[in-house]
Symmetry: C2
Subunit: 148 residues, 2 copies
């Protein structure tokens, strides 16, 4: 069975912690460390304006010698990120992310922000799906008890 | 067919860029950004002593307010990381990493360091393997031309 982003990967009620473009990199890093997340969505009001990740902290702040206290998230985020809708499948999400080199993907339903997913979420879902399909074939080919 | 770390995920001749424990976080970050990698192995001579990742830059340096220029990698790395040998399978590596929450895994052959792999490398290999096994079953069940 195909996994869809909602409800198989995330629920529609998922909690997420957006940050504003005017937040300092330091404050965003503290929030990300606290929540144990590798990326956050950047919002203006209810509008998604960017995505900010631990890779950005490494590449665009620390490696560039910028000061995390005086550098705002808006200056080093990836603006206008590509998004997917809740009914997209895990395969579609994974294909998009692999082809574009994304590691995080915001999920939005029209103007409504639902969640942010990591490529590992989708890999795990696709993996599970393939393993189940394989088990099903083996049950058909070898009988239900095979390998049990 | 089962994928093994060497040669299916990495070659035995893979280039990697270890850093020393006495290198500053800033210098390591510049190297990681330059090589476009999320984690580096930390070595003392030819011995693996730790692993340092972009997550460590976020959690242990920026979120903690440490100065990347005066903080040494050795102070914020994960010491004595778990490793796997080159003949381990992608499934074994993936299981280990998922159960322990690792995102990077050094591959060593006895005392010899071979490479560092990310969980995405293993997810991709296991996925490919499952998809191939599934295709094989479908060819047996439905004939070679099915779906072509």
């Amino acid at each position: 069975m195909h996994r869809h982003i909602v409800p198989d990967i995330v629920s529609d009620q998922q909690q997420f912690s957006p940050v504003s473009a005017g937040m300092s990199v330091r404050a965003a890093a503290i929030l990300m460390a606290d929540k144990r997340i590798g990326a956050v969505m950047v919002t203006e009001g209810t509008r998604l304006v960017g995505i900010f990740s631990e890779r950005d902290v490494l590449n665009r702040v620390v490696a560039k010698g910028l000061d995390p206290d005086s550098t705002m998230v808006g200056a080093v985020m990836t603006p206008d990120p590509v998004t997917l809708g809740p009914s997209a499948t895990a395969e579609e999400a994974l294909e998009l992310m692999q082809s574009r080199g994304f590691r995080h993907l915001p999920v939005v339903d029209g103007d409504r922000i639902i969640a942010i997913c990591s490529i590992r979420d989708f890999f795990a879902a696709v993996n599970e799906e393939l393993a189940e399909d394989l088990k099903q074939r083996d049950e058909i080919m070898f009988g239900t008890g095979y390998g049990a």
